[in-house]
Amino acid sequence: MKRFLATVLALVMALSLAACGSKSAGSSSAASGSAAASSGEKTTVNLWATGSDNVREIYETLTSNFNKTSDQYEVKLNFMLSGTGTQTMVDMLSAAYKAKQTNTEYDLVDFSGDDWSKIVSLIGQDAFTKLDTSKLPNASSVTAKCAVSPEYSQPYRGTTVILAYNSAKVATPPTTMDELISWIKANPGRFAYNTPGTGGAGDSFVRTTVYNFISDESAMVSDDTKWEAQWDQGFKLLAELHPYMYKSGGSVVYPNKNQGALDLLSQGEIDMCPMWADMVLSQRNAGTIPDTIKVTSITPSFTGAVQSLSIPSFGSNSEGAYAFMNYMLSDEAQDTLVKQMAAIPLVSTANIDMTGYEDLKSLDVSKFRILSIGDLSNDFNERWDNEISTLG
């Protein structure tokens, strides 16, 4: 009896091993389920997005608001936290497209400027549906356009890196890059930027510093390795600025992550840093950083981009995708974007209550410098790590 029981147990264990392997077959049936539409039943729209946690929160608010008012569609959010997953979403989509999958779960995808140009370069704009503006009535008031393949992706908010400064210590902030450099040299230890590769604000600062020396503007949206040779002047400037950066315990420190630099600013250890506009404004309104922290732009500006939505041609619910996209451009959704994450709205601000976020009005999306250098950013970060952070 014991032996029989033992044999059965062993077989069960072995079989459960085999069962684990066949789980992946189950997920493809879910996609076909979402396309089924009978009257009165809502169809699912799968929305894909990446970013920091504040992006997840805003999308949860927006999707639940949309789902309450829509009787045809139910938007389901698939969110991947950035820093680990961003590479994966572009990879997932290009893999699905290259495998010639159809009717997949990729109904609507949110892209940053960088990711959008990356995916277009990987699988081409025809992998996405050319946007039918008749299905997007709210888009008529949006003047911003994507830098790459503008007819295939609809921008819905802007983000930009600006100069955050402590207005109690800095009466007149610099207005140009040259003034900023002189300020840094005149105030050693009072400026910091986060290590490139750990946060977009520091990335933006170092990349614009380097690309400001390259006169050909097309370099900023090119991932051709030939531009790497022209980085030398910029890196020389960064090395020159190194001794004037924030110091702790006797050596220069570049904090990790955007929040690291913002913490130094709000604690008063530095007086100025490059920072995401939405981080400064939303934290200031929440009271976690002092009211004396203000934002300003310089010329030539740091980078900014528009965040956009696209409909892959291999998705399964384009009508629902259009419906949600249109909702994202409505005054109500844009108001939520401003209030909850201090995003730069792309519709006219006349109908949106901007109290507390007036700074956003001064950020002109049409003047944004887009930086999208694809895989060169890895080489850039590595070069910075080897040349600048090791200066000691």
């Binding site: 590769g197 050596s251 570049y254």
Partner: protein, 281 residues
Amino acid sequence: MSKEKKRMAFGYLLVMPAFLVVMLVVAWPILTAVKQSFTDSETGGFTWDNYKYFFTDPYQLKNLVFTLFVVLMTVAIAIVVAYLLALYLRFVKSPISRAIGNLYLIPRFVPSLVAVYAMITVIRDSGLVNRISQSFGGDLKLGMMYHAGGMITMNLWFNIPFAALMITAGLETIPDSVIEGARDVGASKWKVFTSMILPLSYKDVVVAATFVFMSNVGAFTTPYLMGGNSPKMLGIALFDQFNKYLRYERAAALSVIMFLICSISAAVYIYTNLKDKDWEK
């Protein structure tokens, strides 16, 4: 087949599912990583370059030496303090020692991220210590943040309770009669310690030291939030290789190197446990 062989075969059959799972989930990824570490990223052929990089690039060598320094300091201080704490808890019977005996494990229950931020708030240049000093007219900047001092201090938060736990367990097995016997024949406290307590507990000390060493070599959270830019701890260097530079072959090589470092400490542990002293036989 003889009955004996049948029973053995049946035993293997029962173990097979668990064994296969371990092979699939643990051994196979390790072998693929080792194979990847010898692969050239461009040609796909065999190469030593990935390993050569970490032993010839001056900054990577600095990272290695720095990591070993921080970890060995952590081990040394943690073991000494933990041992003293364990001796105190074992041999001093008072209400205070009983209270400490109940409370000393609490730091380990604090989630690591919360603990790191708590420490940062206290020791950073604009932190609690600095502000207290400012109220006395000074401006004390500890300079521990972004340097080895801060990281070692943070490591002690987690490792002293753990090491003390292991050493206390070891000291519990020393019967009071042994101590009393030694004292009866006139041994001084120091002699009792060196000739009785230490030999009976050194194996637990080695176990504790090994665990502290291995868990700190690959540490990430503390160095990421409290570490400087150069030299970096190996955990951060590894993160950079695979997440920032996307150099997966080099990342595989670095993880194999870290594995070998840990296996040295494991070898020390195995050696001390295998070798029975004469009086133990």
